[in-house]
C-alpha cells in the first residue's frame, strides 16, 4: 500500500468522528409489525446481567475504538427505556471511561411512552441523556391496538408534558402511516396532533412490513388490506407539505426537523461514516467492514463474562468502489444529496464519471437533480428512490 494511502487511512481512523449505538433487546410486548431482535421474556436480573455484559463489551472494544471521538450515542431497541437510571448511568460511565466523547455529543434514548416516569427521566438527564425519541406511532387508540403498542394516546400526552417539565428540549416523535385501512383524513389528524405538541423532530415512516411479522402474515393472508400505492404517495406528499408549512424541514426521506435539530446520529449512517454498535444484534461499520454481533443473548453474556469478544458475523467487506456505492446509496437518502468533491476525497473515485450513465438515466426519468457538485433526489424521486439506488450497486 502506498504511504500516502496508509497515512490517509490512519488519519481517517483516528480523527474522523464516529457514532455509537447501544442495542437494548427487551420489550414488554413485541409490536405486530416489528422484526428487530428483541425479547419479551425477561426479568430484572436478566436486564442487569445484560447491562453488565454491555459494560464488558465497551471495555473489550476500546482497543479498536478507544481513539475515536464519538459525536453521538444512541440507545435503541427493543425498548431502552426499560432500563433504570442506574443502568443507563453505568453504561454511559463506562463509555466515558474507555472512549472519547465529544463535549456536545448528542445522547439519545428511544422511549416507549408507557415506560417513562418522572424519576427515571430525571435520572436519564442527569446521566447525560439530552435527546428523547418517543415511539408514538399514532394518536388513536384503535391504531395503537392494531400495531400492538402497549401505550395509549393519553400516555403520549402525559409523557410529552413530563419530558418538557424535565427540561428536555430535544424530542423526536416517531409516527407510522399507511396502516391497514388508514384514510388520508386519519393520517393527517395524527400528523396535526404531533405538530401541535411542537416537538423538535418528527420521523414519519411508511409502514414497512416483513412477511415474518404477525401483521405481515395477516396482510399476506388478506385478513388486512394496506392502502393502495396511489393513496400512500398522496399521504407522503401531504406529510411533506404539512410539515414544511409548520417549519419542519425535510432532511431525509422520512425525517423532518426544526432548524438545527436534525438527528446527528442518523446522519452518521446516511453519510456512511463509521459507527460502533454494542450489544446483541448490533451492527458496526469500520471503513469498508460491517459486522454484526450475533443475535443470541445467552452466548453474548457468557462470552463477555469470560472476557472474550462476543461472536460476530461479517456482513460486508467493501473495497473503495463498493464503499463509494454504499456512500451514494445512503447519501442520496438525504435531501441535500451527495457531494462529488467529498466522495472523491474519501474514496479517491469520482462518482460522476463512474456512474455517468446511471446518473443520466435517473436525470432523464426526473428522479435525480444535479446542482454543481451536489446530486440529489427530486421530489418525485423520494418515493421512487429504490429505482435510483439499485443502479449504483457495484
Amino acid at each position: 500500500m502506498p504511504l500516502c494511502r496508509l497515512w490517509k487511512l490512519i488519519m481517517t481512523r483516528k480523527d474522523s468522528p464516529a457514532a455509537l449505538y447501544i442495542h437494548i433487546p427487551f420489550c414488554v410486548q413485541k409490536c405486530s409489525y416489528c422484526d428487530f431482535y428483541s425479547l419479551e421474556a425477561w426479568d430484572s436480573s436478566c436486564l442487569q446481567s445484560y447491562v453488565d455484559a454491555l459494560t464488558g463489551e465497551i471495555r473489550l472494544r476500546c482497543h479498536e475504538w478507544g481513539e475515536r471521538c464519538f459525536a453521538s450515542i444512541f440507545f435503541g431497541g427493543g425498548t431502552p427505556s426499560l432500563l433504570n437510571t442506574a443502568q443507563i448511568a453505568t453504561i454511559l460511565d463506562s463509555i466515558y471511561r474507555y472512549y472519547r466523547v465529544h463535549p456536545q455529543a448528542e445522547i439519545t434514548i428511544e422511549a416507549n411512552p408507557a415506560t417513562l416516569g418522572r424519576q427515571k427521566l430525571r435520572g436519564y438527564c442527569y446521566a447525560g441523556v439530552n435527546r428523547i425519541s418517543l415511539g408514538v406511532q399514532s394518536f388513536f387508540d384503535d391504531e395503537l391496538l392494531l400495531l400492538g403498542r402497549i401505550h395509549s394516546a393519553q400516555d403520549v400526552y402525559k409523557t410529552f408534558d413530563m419530558l418538557r417539565q424535565a427540561g428536555i428540549d430535544n424530542i423526536n416523535l416517531d409516527l407510522i402511516y399507511g396502516l391497514p385501512n388508514q384514510s388520508m383524513g386519519r393520517w393527517l389528524a395524527n400528523l396535526r396532533k404531533a405538530i401541535e405538541l411542537k416537538p423538535e423532530h418528527i420521523s414519519a415512516y411508511l409502514l414497512q412490513l416483513e412477511a415474518s411479522t404477525p401483521m405481515g402474515q395477516q396482510v399476506q393472508h388478506k385478513e388486512l388490506a394496506l392502502p393502495d400505492d396511489e393513496l400512500l404517495l398522496q399521504m407522503y406528499h401531504q406529510t411533506r407539505n404539512l410539515l414544511q408549512e409548520s417549519n419542519y424541514f425535510q432532511y431525509e426521506i422520512s425525517n423532518f426537523a426544526l432548524t438545527g435539530r436534525t438527528c446527528q446520529h442518523n446522519i452518521f449512517y446516511w453519510k456512511a461514516y463509521d459507527y460502533l454498535g454494542l450489544g446483541v444484534g448490533a451492527v458496526s461499520k469500520l471503513g469498508g467492514i460491517r459486522r454484526l454481533n450475533q443475535a443470541a443473548i445467552e452466548q453474548y453474556i457468557k462470552k463477555v463474562e469470560q472476557h472474550e469478544l462476543p461472536p460476530q458475523t461479517l456482513l460486508e467487506s467493501m473495497d473503495e468502489h463498493e464503499q463509494l456505492a454504499d456512500a451514494i446509496i445512503m447519501g442520496l437518502r438525504m435531501v441535500e444529496g451527495i457531494n462529488r468533491q467529498e466522495l472523491y476525497h474519501r474514496f479517491g473515485l469520482d462518482p460522476y464519471s463512474r456512474y455517468e450513465k446511471e446518473i443520466d438515466e435517473c436525470i432523464n426519468r426526473e428522479l435525480l437533480l444535479q446542482d454543481g457538485d451536489m446530486l440529489r433526489l427530486t421530489e418525485k424521486g423520494y418515493f421512487l428512490s429504490n429505482e435510483v439506488f439499485y443502479r449504483f450497486l457495484p
Binding site: 422520512s254 452518521f268 451492527v283 461499520k285 454484526l292 421512487l384 429504490n386
Partner: protein, 599 residues
C-alpha cells in the same frame, strides 16, 4: 468373421431403463472396468444427463463370449429418446439387424416406443422384447407381456424379464442378441456403401461420422465420396468405440465404426447419407435418406445488443455439431439484431438455447416459437412465413395453410373422453381409435402442428394423470383460418410479440394475452398501455399503472446490509428485462404469448 457380428439398438421410452441396461451390457462384457464405469455412460452431454434423455448417438462395440463357446462382436447403436429426433432414430435403426424393445414392467408400452418399434419392424429388424424393472413393487410382468403380444405380435414366452438395476437377466439378453438377431449380410468385395447414422464435430479431426458399412470395405487413406452432394474427402482415421476410441485399419461390410476425413463441417456428413469410394462408386445409395428440415422457428436475440457477434459465433460453432440447426440473421424493430433459428422441435430448441446460454455465456431472449405457414397471396405468388412479423397485410392474403400432423395417443381407456375433449379444443380432427388390450387404447387425431408443439403434451398428461403417451408424424399443409395478432405497447407495435392464431379463438386469446402481459410487465415510471390488434382493429386492451412507490422508508445502521441485498435482487430482476423504448419488458413475456391456456 461377419457371422459373429450383431448390430442392435435399444428402443425404450424415457425412464424405462435404456441407459441402465446399456451400462449393464457394457459391464457384463467387460467393455468398461469398474473404474471407467460412470453411471449411464452413453449419455455424454451434461444436458442429456440432466434431462435424462439421449440427444447425440454413440455406438459402442462389445466383445461377448457366448455360451456356444464362440466370441461375438456386438455393436450397440444408441438412439435418441425424443420425438423431435425421430429421423435420427430411423437411421440408427437402419444400421441394425435387430433391436431390444425395453418396456417398464409397471408402465407398459408408450406411444413413442410403439412408433419406434413399428419403424424397426418396417426395416425388418428382429425385435427382442425385454420387460425391465421386474423388481419394483408395481411390476405387472404378465400384463405387460400380454400387451406386447397383443400389440406387437411378439411371442410372450420369448419376452425376457430383467432388472437392469439389479443386474438380473442380462446374460439372457446377450444370448438372445447372439442367437436371434441375424448376422449382417453384404459383400466385402462389392462397391462401398456406408451409411452415416450420426456425426459430430471434433475440433482436432473435423466432422466425424458414425457409419454402418453395408457393403464393400473402407480403408485408411481411401478417397471417399458423399453420395448426396458428390463431395470428396480422404479418410484419415477409422476406428471403433469400445467405448474408448480404438483406431482400426479398415471397416468391412457389416461393421460399425467411425470415419474422420478432415471434413470441416458436419453439413457434409449428413445423417442418412451414403459414403462410397470416389473411384469405384456404388450404383445407388442406401435407401431412406432425406434432408432434415426444421419445423419450429423462433427468434433468438441477445439481451445486450453488443453480444450479437458473440451469438453469431456461438451459432456457427453449434451448427458444426448439429446439421439440423438452422439460422439466419434477422432484425426486429423492438429487439434489434438477432437470428431466426429453426429446430426439429421444442426440445431441440430448448437444448440449443440452453447450450448457448451455458456454454457461450450469453443472455438470450427467445421469441415465441412458430411453425412455417404457407400463404397464397392475391397476386398469385406463394410464400413461406416462419416469422409472424413477415405476415402479409390482410388484403394481400388469398389463403393461409398450416402444417398438420397425425398424432398417436396411447392412454388407459378411462381417459378416452378426456383425450378427445382435449384434442377437440386443440382444433383436432378425430381419425380412428383402436383397443390395444382390454384397458389401453390408441387414439389417432389429425392436429395442427402448431397446437402440438406448444404445451400440448403437458396438457395431455395433466388430463390423463400422466398416463398418456404421444407420438406424431407430419401429414402436410392444409388451408386454415389464421390471423396475425399484433401487440402494441404504448401504441407502438412490438413485432416480436406478434403471434399467429386461429380466427375463432382470436378474441378470447387476445383478451387473455393482454391480461397476461399486464401481469408480467412490472409497473414502470410511466403508465404502459397494452393493446392486442388484428390488422387495424384493436380487440383487447389493458393498462399497467405507473409505478408509484418504491421506497425503503427506514434505513439505519443495523439494516443497511440487508436493505442493500434487497436492492441487489431488484438489480438482478432488471437484468432480465429487455428495454424497448422507455419500457422494460421481462424476457419471459416473449415466450408467454404461446403459453395462453384457454381453460
Amino acid at each position: 468373421m461377419k457371422e459373429n457380428i450383431r448390430n442392435f439398438s435399444i428402443i425404450a421410452h424415457i425412464d424405462h431403463g435404456k441407459s441402465t441396461l446399456a451400462d449393464r451390457l457394457m459391464q457384463f462384457t467387460g467393455a468398461l472396468t469398474e473404474r471407467e464405469m460412470r453411471e449411464q455412460y452413453l449419455d455424454k452431454m451434461d444436458l442429456e444427463r440432466e434431462k435424462g434423455i439421449t440427444i447425440k448417438l454413440q455406438p459402442v462395440r462389445l466383445h461377448y463370449q457366448a455360451r456356444d463357446g464362440q466370441s461375438y462382436v456386438l455393436n450397440l447403436i444408441d438412439t435418441p429418446g425424443h420425438v423431435d429426433f425421430s429421423y435420427e432414430v430411423s437411421r440408427s435403426l437402419a444400421a441394425c439387424e435387430g433391436a431390444l424393445l425395453v418396456v417398464d414392467a409397471s408402465q407398459g408400452i408408450e406411444a413413442q416406443t410403439l412408433a419406434n418399434v413399428y419403424m424397426a419392424m418396417d426395416l425388418d429388424l428382429e425385435i427382442i422384447g425385454v420387460v425391465n424393472k421386474i423388481d419394483l413393487p408395481g411390476a405387472d410382468l404378465e400384463g405387460v407381456q400380454e400387451e406386447m403380444e397383443n400389440v406387437l405380435g411378439l411371442d410372450r414366452d420369448e419376452i425376457i424379464p430383467i432388472s437392469a438395476k439389479m443386474g438380473t437377466g442380462i446374460e439372457e439378453v446377450l444370448e438372445a442378441i447372439v442367437n436371434r438377431i441375424p448376422a449382417p449380410k453384404g459383400d466385402e468385395e462389392a462397391e462401398l456403401q456406408a451409411m452415416i447414422f450420426d456425426s459430430y464435430f471434433d475440433p482436432y479431426k473435423g466432422a466425424i461420422s458414425y457409419i454402418r458399412v453395408e457393403s464393400g470395405t473402407l480403408r485408411n487413406g481411401d478417397i471417399i465420396q458423399m453420395m448426396s452432394t458428390g463431395n470428396e474427402f480422404e479418410v484419415i482415421e477409422l476406428g471403433v468405440l469400445t467405448p474408448m476410441v480404438k483406431q482400426v485399419e479398415s471397416l468391412q461390410a457389416g461393421e460399425v465404426g467411425y470415419v474422420a476425413a478432415s471434413i470441416k463441417n458436419v453439413a457434409d456428413t449428413r445423417v442418412g447419407d451414403t459414403i462410397t469410394h470416389a473411384n469405384r462408386p456404388a450404383a445407388h445409395p442406401v435407401a431412406g435418406y432425406r434432408e432434415v428440415k426444421p419445423v419450429v422457428f423462433c427468434g433468438l436475440y441477445p439481451l445486450e445488443n453488443s453480444d450479437f457477434e458473440q451469438l453469431r459465433e456461438a451459432l456457427e460453432r453449434l451448427k458444426l455439431n448439429d446439421a439440423s440447426l438452422y439460422y439466419e440473421p434477422e432484425s426486429s424493430d423492438a429487439l434489434g439484431f438477432g437470428f431466426r433459428c429453426g429446430f426439429l422441435g421444442l426440445l431441440h430448441m430448448e437444448i440449443i438455447r440452453e447450450r448457448l446460454e451455458r456454454e457461450y455465456d450469453l443472455a438470450l431472449l427467445a421469441t415465441a416459437p412458430s411453425v412455417v405457414y404457407k400463404i397464397k397471396q392475391t397476386d398469385g405468388t406463394e410464400i413461406m412465413v416462419r416469422n409472424p412479423s413477415h405476415w402479409p397485410e390482410i388484403q394481400r392474403i388469398e389463403s393461409v395453410m398450416e402444417p398438420y400432423v397425425k398424432a398417436s395417443i396411447m392412454v388407459p381407456s378411462d381417459y378416452i373422453g378426456a383425450v378427445m375433449e382435449f384434442c377437440q379444443e386443440k382444433r383436432g380432427e378425430f381419425q380412428t381409435m383402436e383397443y390395444l388390450s382390454a384397458h389401453r387404447v390408441l387414439i389417432i387425431y389429425k392436429l395442427p402442428l402448431a397446437e402440438i408443439l406448444f404445451d400440448f403434451f403437458d396438457g395431455l398428461k395433466s388430463r390423463t394423470r400422466g398416463y398418456a403417451s404421444l407420438d406424431y408424424e407430419m401429414l402436410g399443409y392444409e388451408v386454415s383460418h389464421l390471423v396475425k395478432l399484433d401487440i402494441m405497447i404504448n401504441g407502438e407495435p412490438v413485432d416480436a410479440l406478434s403471434t399467429i392464431i386461429h380466427k375463432e379463438n382470436a378474441y378470447r386469446h387476445a383478451r387473455m394475452l393482454a391480461e397476461k402481459l399486464r401481469q408480467i410487465i412490472p409497473r414502470q415510471m410511466y403508465e404502459v398501455s397494452i393493446q392486442a390488434a388484428i390488422g387495424n382493429q384493436v380487440i383487447a386492451r389493458e393498462n399497467v399503472k405507473a409505478l408509484r412507490k418504491d421506497v425503503l422508508a427506514k434505513c439505519y445502521g443495523g439494516d443497511i446490509s440487508r436493505k442493500k441485498k434487497l436492492l441487489e435482487k431488484q438489480k438482478e430482476g432488471k437484468k432480465r428485462m429487455k428495454q424497448i423504448g422507455k419500457i422494460e419488458i421481462p424476457r419471459d413475456a416473449f415466450m408467454s404469448v404461446m403459453e395462453i391456456d384457454h381453460d
